[in-house]
Symmetry: D2
């Protein structure tokens, strides 16, 4: 039954566009609304041309009417979500926030890496929206904080190692990640200008990207131990997809490919494979991963 009403706040960015594409065809979603400050009054399909004949409604402004929904997705920038969510929650709306605003249980970490928090009391109540780690909690949650792009790839890759954490050097993890340019958003920038990205690889924010503390805090919570990692992201000339190379030192003999398969056996969107290529997961919900051990340096490599 198509009886759930949904609103996407900030529908003109790339995450907003993808939400609309998925929700417009969702079997349970009825009324679907999208807001946009920048494009209010324009057809959504004039901004996201791929939505032509799929979702042609106009972008609304954020008001009582557009905010009257069962579910609201906040595809808003960091710093905005935290001013919008409290009011919605009070009205009983279920909120999924795609910004970083509620990803940290400890709002002080957020404030260290982002900015002063406007609704710190909600941080503890928000559930980190990674079903493979928090499925039960998500089902009951009123406020879901969706994971960052890089953290999704790194946390999923590390989760199956919780069991053997004592054999591993959890404070010296090395992560090198590659991202497509859609992660940089729809707003034009020199960083993501075609002539600057194509035929290029652009390493950036070396040792200072703010997704690093997000990875450390969630993995730390899941593993019940201190976690430290170095994180080096590189922009690759692709649109969609992330590849993370995760290196954990430790002595280990077992065939990890098999234990990863077992760990994720019932997960519909995780696939364990020798060929974890972004091409096979782009445009899908899948996360493909493989795991290897390097005896030369006593190390686990998860891709």
């Amino acid at each position: 039954m198509k009886d759930i009403s949904v609103t996407v706040v900030g529908g003109s960015g790339y995450t907003g566009g993808e939400l609309l594409r998925i929700l417009a065809r969702h079997p349970q979603v009825g009324k679907l609304t999208a807001t946009s400050r920048q494009h209010e009054g324009k057809k959504a399909s004039s901004v996201h041309q791929n939505l032509l004949n799929v979702y042609d409604k106009e972008f609304k402004q954020m008001d009582e009417k557009s905010m009257d929904a069962d579910f609201i997705f906040l595809a808003t920038p960091h710093g905005e979500s935290m001013t919008i969510a409290p009011g919605l929650l009070e009205k009983g709306v279920k909120v999924v926030d795609l910004s970083a605003d509620y990803r940290f249980k400890d709002y002080k970490i957020y404030e260290k890496y982002y900015q002063k928090h406007a609704s710190p009391e909600l941080c503890k109540k928000a559930i980190y929206g990674l079903p493979e780690a928090y499925r039960k909690e998500i089902k009951k949650a009123n406020l879901v904080a969706n994971p960052g792009c890089y953290p999704t790839s790194v946390i999923l890759g590390l989760l199956p190692l919780a069991r053997i954490k004592k054999k591993l050097e959890m404070k010296k993890i090395v992560v090198d990640s590659l991202s497509g340019t859609s992660g940089a958003g729809a707003k034009p920038s020199e960083f993501a200008h075609h002539s600057e990205v194509d035929e290029n690889l652009k390493v950036y924010n070396v040792a200072k990207h703010r997704h690093r503390p997000e990875m450390e805090s969630i993995v730390g919570e899941q593993f019940g131990c201190d976690v430290k990692l170095s994180f080096t992201p590189t922009l690759a000339p692709i649109i969609r997809g992330i590849q993370s190379n995760i290196h954990v030192h430790g002595k280990l003999k077992e065939n990890l490919m098999d234990s990863y398969k077992k760990f994720y056996g019932k997960e519909p969107f995780i696939r364990i494979t020798e060929t974890p290529y972004v091409k096979n997961v782009a445009h899908t919900n899948y996360c493909d991963m493989g795991v290897w051990t390097d005896e030369n340096t006593s190390e686990i490599i998860v891709i």
Copy 2:
């Protein structure tokens, strides 16, 4: 002898950067200066990173000192060059303008497609900077108007047909062109945003691109007849290079590949080939071209 002093006005764009790369290693160029309003005081190699250790001087402002040179290249936007050139010419400087400001002998055509002209009297004196057509005149010129990107490809492709123009329908020429994104310049835009360009082909300005009158007027002058063409440009997911497919109807038996080879025999930068691919000319001065006849529709196809 490195005794020629050169200044590049507007050195921070892509054309400015390429000029600096070439001039910095030119055997006859001595003092080399670059100006930039936006980046004044910054090292040129901090803006054009490929110039590190090649040309590290700071961008200057446009003043008496920086304008004291034998040659000045104006890598300025349309509409600016026409206010700068007159003063320089009066001082006896030789000027090469990369904008469209002096490409039309008849300033009224310029005004129709661009804007009001600030120094229309210079238009007749400017020489169109295509050596294959105006080599002698360029050598003696004080003001050279460098060709647009698309016009370069189309004019060079048509020139050898002047001899047989009477057999050809010169008022129904069809041109479909493909361009890399560097042609759109260094300034970030949605048009040339990587996520919008990659894995995409973007046709634009159908039947209304202002390079069309430029092609028509130069070919018309060279051929001594009226020329009309339709021009459809498409942005392709490459950085450098243009491919133009030029279709001219007319009855013709001869092997044009040979007559093209003969026509361009002494030109150092024109190569006639069955495989005129942008890859073979990008990063070089070459223009590669091939020519075919299609008996099915009585048509010449120049690529």
Copy 3:
């Protein structure tokens, strides 16, 4: 009800892989089989890695058992389909052929551009699998000949002009097309080698591609008149998608964008738009198109 059994012959190529991806999730398809000479015995998902957990069955050989199906798709090379189809049709199987073998009602045209035909008597009975032109016939057909990639784009672009064909020069149509590399198939070749294609544009088979007669014969049949066109294909550095620039000379005043919208009004997969970009249709069933008139050369341009 999932009660239709389907077999894909030649399941290891790109068309085979796409068929499997679509059919594996098709609500009416039950038993789904794929054959492959080259990869017999291997899991389909080891060849098409994106099918992991989607379609993991092994490729079969072509025998009685694998050929026992309601529908059989022949994703086989030109020249093979025509030896397989006759036997299947005799058994009462419905056949969809993706090769060129049955695309020409007149087998002599096929023989001129391809090779001697092994079952010429079937050519007249085969229905050209373009629903926008032959929907009724396809529903009743036993043998459907699916269109070539370039012809699909060109025929769909021309169909709405049938009504005004007398105003148009139908024997001087100019078509410049761009194709992604998936059209060249899964078999490695220098033509589609990454280092040769990336940052490149490769014009090929100028004035001699065999999709040209296919376009001419279908458009001729639909329009009821002689049609001649020149066809120039170029390989672009994208994987999926085709852009065709179609130029038809003729005098015309009306707003064609509107008449195209009207013509295709009920078609679910045709969208009329000012921005007919491959990015908006890749990975979908859509064909987006726009139409312009160029008064300068009295010409219609369909993209």
Copy 4:
């Protein structure tokens, strides 16, 4: 003076093509010959189209005449060079080998990772062709073994750390590298097929690429200590360029960017920069690098 005669053996691959492009314009090279088994008799510029009008001679077979040169470059596959080099050296020719055959002073390491060696006695005499490490020796060498692509990037990145090796965990180095597809050579393969590479990232040979022992042995020799590293290569959708992320654990306070600048101060082709992007070095001789310290995990990161 153009008085040095040079022959390139195996001129039809990508390394052969680049050598010809450079040598054809080299101020000291006179007679330039190229051999190719596969393309003997064809013009070099019909295989390497970018060489049209630059180097148009025909490929020769390998015989007395073509081997009569001052310098011979062996752009031959691993396993072939070691059968050709001995005879040339006896005749007094200077040989530069681009294969892996002479990169290991200890031929047993070669035999472990490659194959039985046909001229093991030459291994000790060969000089590793990395001028930044072996400039003096190269000048006097008769047999130069040019470095592998990945090892070049990793060795250059590590060299400046020799001085402080004792503070570093040299047996737990982590290297994640990205390579363009030209590194896979000119021979078509599924691995480097455009539709498989574009919009994709392909990790391969995890923990078992044979460039790893090459890096370890050269760095070990230069540092005078045991070196172990894990090496994970990924194929990126670019043609030219390699990015290597090198992680070395160790406690360190100093500003390494400055000491890297000092170390490489006189090297013409090394540039130290905050933006070590492949785009800035592709099509040049440059290797750009940057170095950072991550206090969070006590680690040096060289890109």
